[in-house]
């Protein structure tokens, strides 16, 4: 095409061709090239940064400009070809940002998008990329829900969007959306609590295959994903080959993991003293004559007994290996990789193992046609420990008596032990339970895409992409029968049981879209328009049997037939969506940009009349420093202002066909098979809407040493899709055996916040570089109202059907607010007890008495009752922050990353047991030695009380500050000198050592102030009920490149 121009140009002018690149060598598409002083003769660089311009013979200088870059004048005297390198006014401007169905340069972005590069997440000893970006992105709050390898992670992009549904963002990996959740079997199939079952979806993707991550934070960026973008969109770009000689890379690390701290529960000596003193307490109330246990009379003669924490926690190991080949020649680029990751948890028997294979191949088939394929195969095998429940092993170890041994003299497990006629210990030996229960989630996943892209005319491309995602889930929960090794033959684990679950899911999507870009004069336009269909279906079966012969872990060895406990379950479902989307960007004179997008989605989630929703967005930016008047601003190299607004939707209802009245699967009841209604229908519910307003600035100041991005936002969720919240007396509910309340649109929730990211280049010279990156995220969540102004969302823990209310989310309060009584010290004086207030119980030794907790009469009616409850804490942090300092000195590099969270509160539910002082024979924290007794009237804890439950009812007694500052990662690396490694034909050889979760500054008394949400439920955040603590890791690794 250039040929034509050349012919015309001969004579009066000469033709200059060339290319424009940034400092990193990335072509600058859309750069303006003009002849100096002849503004009307402007051309723009094409997609490869190439241009050709007619220059009058009389002229010898061309000017090259690009949005956000320093303009340059280039002399063309005596040249026909020039290569121009533009330097950014800000190091970020050249970055390619993935925006959904296309890419932009950072300089052209008008909305709020944060980017992370490969090196920010490299070499971190974590299973998933979700964990790796913690503290690295302003506006994204990440908490590990558990220390379980491969366990769940709460990722919140700008606060909480949905009150009852999923709040995890949409992950899009090279254009393939990956939503949903990953669950392991409930442990309650085997008896007891069910524990954490929500696991990390992202743990199935090898983080080492990731090249970059872009997070769409505001609706003006998300709206192109319409109804799937409500919780934010995380766009992941995987590694691709580059033209040039092939590269072989091997990345590996190996390390150790341990729990960062142990809780101080009593040892046997302390426990014996405590037992002796309790008898005085009890006899003092009952007038009884319980006598001291003989063996405990002289505690000093006793040993330390069983340290259950030592028995259950171990030093785990972690290792990762990844081998990749990449490169490209001529028309083809390729990337292949294989990875292996193996993590043994700090809780015995917990582990996560993953095998991954990945390929990316792109080929220029014709001059006008490019095609490519990507595939990701992964298999992960996760063994899950029972945590987060009062009977979980992580809880039991804290109250199981140190008098009970783990094993008898023959090395066999035993449950209880008798000391002086009294039984001590938990029948289910927690070590045996952890050892023998095998609860696993094995997942095999294949996903990727096939695409073809046609250049129709210059600037206009047409892309078709077929996305696919197949999953095979294979879960199991098994326990063998385990008996006491002693003569009692008591059951430690009741009976062999096995449940197997198999699930299949298939997803495919077809995207077809046109991308158009054109620049003329001072104008530049980008447009995108397309269509997408998505379909998924799933099915599952499960079966369980008990009484496995010889404890063989197979369904075939279990007992079948009537009354044998044999069960079979199954189900299937389908979901589909059709969408149209378009986006238009226009930039004038490299200064003013405006962008608008709209997406129209139809989803099978909704009834025929409410199926379609539209999600528009607009945003604009002004690059102030490209104005002529900004030339003189010495310390301001770059300044861009951004404004945006948009709407996205949410269609999460927790099931298909919710708009109809369904009949539950038949149950074979005692009077024969029958079915109750499953739900109450509401044909009218429709899209939940989330509107975001965003204002931001990007600035580079102080001679390019400081880069700042600040965004403030307001995000309003309306017409929330909620199961109608009703009190239990309605008879309807949301539990497994309830007739479910209808889904309805209602309520409103607001998140307001500010995201700040600052990067400073403190020292930059030949040998030493020091860079500091700081991110700061603050959000304030407020539930404006639910489906009706008075409605409230209860957060309760199910303990064998007893559901103590721990949180209450109601109008005007943050979601998940702790709710309960307010304490006012202890009763230490009879005058306090007899001051005329009705404490709810009479003043009497076995009722309300000295040493009991005093609650505040909040409504001042002279009576402590159900009216005296209020909000007692907020689990949402005021802000979270992260600071990374990286130093490089010659071949050495050091990075120090600290991460913190401030202002969140924790409900330390476990202390209701460990400081409960309610059961004579359970072990407790050492703190109970300083409880109130007749002889220790100034004790800090309440008295021992087996007569009523008030002292441990839900109150601010168990609220603690969850603020912490953690040295999250220190990593020291050394790049071997090139000369040395060249002999071994290596291009790079880096060795490093790193420490993760090195130390936490916190006042929190539990294991770990980073708690996240119980099974991703936002109504159960920051509740510590036998948490699996996040490990401390020390790793050593190498990155080798040939």
């Amino acid at each position: 095409m250039l040929g034509g121009i050349t012919l015309h140009a001969q004579g009066t002018s000469k033709l200059i061709s060339g290319s424009v690149q940034d400092e990193k060598g990335t072509p600058l598409q859309g750069a303006s090239i003009s002849v100096k002083n002849m503004r009307n003769a402007t051309v723009t660089a094409d997609v490869n940064g190439n241009f050709a311009i007619k220059v009058p013979v009389s002229q010898n200088t061309i000017q090259v400009t690009y949005i956000g870059m320093k303009p340059v004048d280039v002399s063309v005297e005596g040249k026909t070809n020039v290569s121009v390198i533009l330097k950014g006014a800000d190091s970020r401007l050249g970055e390619v940002v993935v925006v959904g169905y296309g890419t932009r340069r950072r300089a052209e972005v008008t909305s709020s998008i944060s980017s992370i590069s490969e090196k920010d997440i490299k070499n971190l000893p974590v299973a998933g990329v979700d964990q790796a970006i913690q503290g690295k992105v302003a506006g994204v709050t990440i908490t590990n829900n558990t220390g379980q390898p491969g366990g769940g992670v709460s990722v919140r992009v700008r606060g909480i969007t949905s009150a009852t549904g999923n709040n995890e963002p949409l992950y899009v990996i090279d254009g393939v959306p990956m939503g949903g959740t990953k669950s392991s079997p409930n442990q309650n199939f085997l008896g007891g609590g069910n524990g954490q079952t929500v696991q990390s979806v992202m743990a199935t993707l090898n983080p080492s295959d990731i090249a970059s991550i872009d997070i769409l934070k505001d609706a003006s960026a998300q709206a192109i994903y319409g109804s799937q973008g409500a919780n934010g969109v995380v766009l992941i770009t995987t590694k691709k080959g580059k033209n040039g000689e092939g590269k072989i890379s091997y990345d590996t690390y190996y390390g150790f993991q341990m729990i960062p701290k142990k809780l101080k529960v009593m040892n046997l000596q302390q426990f014996a003293k405590y037992q002796n003193s309790l008898l005085a307490d009890i006899n003092g109330v009952t007038g009884g004559r319980q006598d001291t246990i003989g063996e405990f009379r002289n505690p000093d003669l006793l040993g330390h007994g069983t340290d259950w924490q030592d028995e259950i926690y171990q030093t785990g190991q972690i290792q990762s290996h990844q081998l990749s080949f990449s490169g490209g020649q001529g028309k083809t680029t390729y990337y292949f990789s294989g990875g292996y990751f193996d993590q043994q948890g700090t809780l015995i028997e917990t582990k996560f193992r993953r095998y991954t294979l990945r390929m990316n191949v792109d080929h220029q088939v014709k001059s006008w046609f490019k095609a490519g394929i990507s595939g990701n195969l992964s298999r992960s095998d996760q063994k899950i420990g029972l945590s987060d429940g009062f009977d979980a092993v992580t809880s039991t170890i804290l109250y199981n008596s140190p008098a009970a041994p783990v094993r008898n003299v023959y090395g066999e497990y035993i449950g209880t032990t008798v000391v002086g006629g009294t039984q001590f210990g938990n029948i289910s030996n927690p070590v045996a339970l952890a050892k023998f229960r095998d609860v696993r989630a094995v997942s095999t996943k294949v996903f990727g895409a096939l695409y073809g892209e046609i250049d129709i005319i210059k600037g206009l491309t047409f892309r078709n992409q077929l996305n696919y995602d197949f999953n095979l889930g294979s879960n199991k929960a098994f326990q063998p029968e385990v008996k006491n090794g002693d003569i009692t033959q008591n059951n430690i684990i009741n009976i062999a049981q096995l449940r197997e679950e198999r699930s299949n899911s298939i997803y495919y999507g077809l995207q077809s879209y046109l991308n158009y870009s054109k620049s003329w004069g001072k104008h530049a336009v980008y447009a995108t328009a397309g269509h997408e269909v998505q379909y998924s279906s799933y099915d599952y079966i499960n079966a369980s049997r008990v009484g496995q012969q010889l404890n063989l872990p197979s369904l075939a060895t279990g007992i079948g037939g009537n009354n044998s406990g044999e069960t079979i379950g199954a189900g299937q479902g389908e979901w589909s969506m059709e969408s149209y989307f378009s986006r238009l960007n226009y930039t004038y004179n490299n200064r003013y940009s405006i962008s608008g997008s709209i997406r129209r989605d139809g989803s099978s989630t909704f009834g025929p009349e409410k199926r379609w929703g539209s999600f528009p967005a607009v945003s604009a930016s002004w690059t102030v420093t490209n104005e002529p008047f900004a030339e003189g601003l010495k310390n301001l190299s770059y300044l861009k202002l951004r404004l945006g607004a948009g709407a996205v939707g949410n269609q999460e209802t927790g099931g298909n066909n919710q708009y109809k009245s369904n009949i539950a699967a038949p149950i074979t009841g005692p009077l024969g098979p029958g079915s109750l209604p499953y739900n109450v229908a509401n044909a009218k519910f429709s899209w939940e809407s989330i509107k975001t307003y965003n204002a931001g600035i990007d600035a580079t100041v102080l001679n390019k040493r400081v880069e700042i991005s600040i965004d403030v936002y307001k995000k309003v969720t309306t017409n929330m899709l909620l199961p109608v919240q009703l009190p239990a007396f309605s008879g309807l509910g949301t539990s497994y055996n309830d007739i479910r309340t209808p889904i309805a649109n209602g309520g409103q929730m607001t998140n307001k916040g500010i995201d700040i990211a600052i990067t400073t280049y403190n020292v930059q010279n030949k040998n030493l570089n020091w860079k500091t990156s700081i991110v700061f995220s603050h959000y304030k969540n407020k539930l404006d109202f639910l489906n009706s102004p008075d409605a409230a969302l209860a957060g309760d823990f199910d303990e064998y059907g007893d559901k103590p209310l721990v949180t209450l989310s109601q109008q005007g309060l943050p979601l998940g607010s702790f709710y309960g009584f307010v304490t006012d010290g202890l009763f230490r004086d009879m005058k306090d007890l007899n001051n005329g207030i009705d404490w709810g119980l009479p003043v009497q030794a076995d009722k309300q008495w000295l040493g009991d907790v005093r609650f505040k009469d909040l409504n001042g009616d002279g009576k402590i009752d159900s009216k005296d409850v209020t909000v007692i804490g907020n689990p949402n942090p005021t802000f979270t922050y992260g600071m990374t300092n990286t130093f490089s000195f010659k071949g050495l590099d050091l990075s120090v990353f600290v991460y913190g969270s401030y202002g969140a509160q924790i409900f330390n539910y476990a202390r209701r047991q460990t400081e409960g002082l309610r059961n004579q024979f359970n072990n407790q924290l050492e703190t109970v030695l300083d409880r109130y007794t007749a002889t220790n009237p100034n004790g800090s804890l309440p008295r021992y009380n087996q007569w009523h439950n008030n002292n441990f009812r839900i109150s601010d007694r168990f609220i603690e500050s969850g603020s912490f500052l953690r040295i999250q990662n220190i990593s020291l690396g050394y790049n071997l000198p090139k000369k040395m490694i060249a002999k071994a034909k290596m291009a790079n050889f880096k060795i490093y050592a790193s420490a993760q979760n090195l130390y936490t500054f916190t006042k929190y008394s539990g294991y770990d102030p980073e708690l996240g949400a119980y099974n991703s439920r936002v109504t159960l955040m920051n509740i510590d009920n036998g948490h699996y603590p996040n490990p401390r890791s020390f790793t050593f690794g190498a990155n080798i490149e040939f």
């Binding site: 269909v533 009354n563 079915s675 499953y678 239990a728 007396f729 009479p842």
Partner: protein, 530 residues
């Protein structure tokens, strides 16, 4: 170039035409929908059949005993089971778990009944012969009636919800508490419908009948001290029993309470139905909680027996509990020397023996705080004719209303407010129950005699507390404070414990805190419903 354009144009046209409208329509293949269901007797009866089972699970789990027997003083607990603590001590607060379970389960049973009632009524319009729907409505209304009777007795003033779906409208769930008498009247209205529309003889064993409804109404009337109506309804049942022989006292009390083969016998007017294969969600858990470990832990059951509730010393003392010659003592309680030949397990190949001589409880010995265990509803190890699953759940039905109850209601209704009676009909009804236990007939009985008779007849059946409660605060206080609720220590020395009642509000459970925070109207004084 040309090929390229054809491809582009072709694809654009294809995507432009896009999908059929049906692409977004998926009919469920896993579930039936209401439009096509409840169209025959089988489907309707199947649904109402579920109302006898797991929906009551949370209440039956521990609340049933805690309310009826722990408060009533007929049982006491093993040390270390802190869940029951506040019930033993009459220290119940709105934050205690067991009141949640009572509340939630009773309202769930009522609510699910209401949804069925509404669905069946809607279906009537399109059914040609809707008799099966009317029967279904009557059965569901019986269940709802019983649920509200229990709610009214346990919580006193309480919300009434006739149509839960109406509550899903914004703000509509702010329901007040209604007066206890209206809650009970609501229950009676339901039972009246059941009385009119249920058959005299169950269409399937275990289903409620016209006479179950009459008996339940008699029980509510008696609770309300409406002696005339109580007498009337009880008499209708007794006359029918005498006339037809379909209903009557069962001749084997032991079998009635220790074997599922006696389920739905002629004495049972209404019982909850359980199925061991349903496990936690539908098996009878009672044996797991009260059964002794050496009976249930060894093979073949390989389950657990917690002995969490044991007969109280008050029940074992002939002065206050079972009289010396009362056979119900042996029929209801296991003590040292108890032996049952057919209860064979790995520890007891020659039949289970209740052995308290060990120092502790293990798979051979049992040592509870009163050196006894409850026998009622304990069916022993799993065996051919007695299914027990590996969690020790059994299949024996839970009697909610027995004919013996109707007889004693009749006797008490005739006694009315008077001190004692020698009325022939009353004495006959009383003696029918009294003499079955091997005791000599009486010619006159007092109110206290009658209450005592109820105590020993219905001990461990979740009912005696209401007999105390309905006497009013003064008498209830006396009855409670006279009971020995203590336990024996290691050396069989009695640690005495006597509960005290200090306020009339202790006669009712408080409404759970988790409910009052959602509906603050529940903290306001009750108002009339009718």
């Amino acid at each position: 170039m040309k090929i390229k354009n054809i491809i582009v144009a072709g694809t654009l046209i294809l995507t432009g035409l896009s999908c059929k409208k049906s692409f977004l329509e998926h009919t469920s293949t896993s579930n039936a929908t209401l439009d096509v269901y409840y169209v025959n007797a089988e489907q309707v009866n199947g649904a109402t059949g579920l109302l006898y089972n797991a929906v009551w699970g949370d209440w039956f789990d521990k609340a049933f005993s805690s309310v009826g027997d722990v408060l009533g003083g007929t049982v006491t607990g093993a040390a270390g089971n802190d869940q029951y603590n506040s019930f033993y001590n009459f220290n119940i607060q709105s934050t205690d778990g067991l009141i949640n379970l009572t509340w939630n389960a009773c309202y769930k049973a009522a609510g699910q009944s209401s949804v069925l009632i509404k669905s069946f009524e809607d279906k009537k319009a399109s059914a040609s012969n809707p008799a099966y729907l009317t029967l279904g409505i009557a059965e569901a209304r019986f269940i709802r009636g019983f649920a509200y009777f229990y709610i009214g007795r346990t919580f006193g003033d309480a919300p009434i919800v006739s149509d839960p779906v109406a509550l899903t409208e914004p703000g509509a769930y702010l329901v007040p508490r209604y007066l206890q008498k209206d809650v009970l009247r609501f229950a009676i209205e339901d039972l009246k419908f059941a009385e009119e529309n249920l058959p005299s003889v169950a269409y399937q064993p275990g289903r409620v009948t016209k006479y179950a409804a009459k008996g339940m109404m008699a029980k509510i009337y008696l609770y309300l001290k409406d002696y005339d109506n109580a007498k009337l309804k009880a008499k209708e049942v007794i006359d029918y029993a005498n006339g037809s022989g379909v209903i009557g006292l069962y001749d084997d009390y032991t079998k009635m309470f220790t074997s599922s083969s006696a389920n739905n016998n002629k004495e049972s007017l209404f019982s909850l139905q359980w199925l061991t294969s349903l496990g936690w969600n539908g098996g009878n858990r009672f044996q797991l909680y009260v059964g002794p470990q050496p009976l249930l832990a060894p093979a073949p059951t390989s389950g657990a027996g917690y002995s969490a509730l044991v007969p109280s010393i008050d029940m074992l003392n002939p002065a206050t509990g079972y009289a010396i010659n009362d056979k119900r003592h042996g029929w209801s309680v296991m003590e040292q020397g108890f032996h049952k030949a057919e209860w064979v397990n790995a520890s007891f190949p020659n039949g289970f023996r209740y052995d308290t001589t060990g120092n502790n409880t293990d798979n051979f010995h049992i040592r509870t705080g009163t050196r006894s265990s409850i026998l009622k509803y304990v069916v022993g190890p799993n065996r051919a004719n007695e299914p027990v699953n590996t969690s020790s759940h059994s299949q024996i039905g839970t009697y909610i209303l027995r004919y013996a109850d109707v007889l004693l209601i009749h006797a008490e209704a005739i006694l009315g407010g008077t001190g004692s009676t020698s009325n022939a009909e009353a004495v006959a009804a009383f003696n029918a129950v009294h003499t079955r236990a091997g005791l000599d007939p009486v010619s006159v009985f007092s109110k206290d005699d009658l209450l005592h008779e109820r105590k020993v007849e219905f001990a461990f059946e979740g009912d005696y507390w209401f007999d105390i409660q309905r006497q009013g605060f003064t008498k209830a206080k006396q009855m409670i404070e006279a009971q020995e609720r203590g336990t024996y220590d290691f050396n069989k020395q009695l640690t005495s414990f006597k509960a005290t009642l200090s306020s009339e509000s202790q006669l009712y459970l408080p409404i759970p805190l988790s409910e009052t925070v959602k509906d603050p109207l529940l903290l306001q004084p009750a108002i009339p419903y009718y």
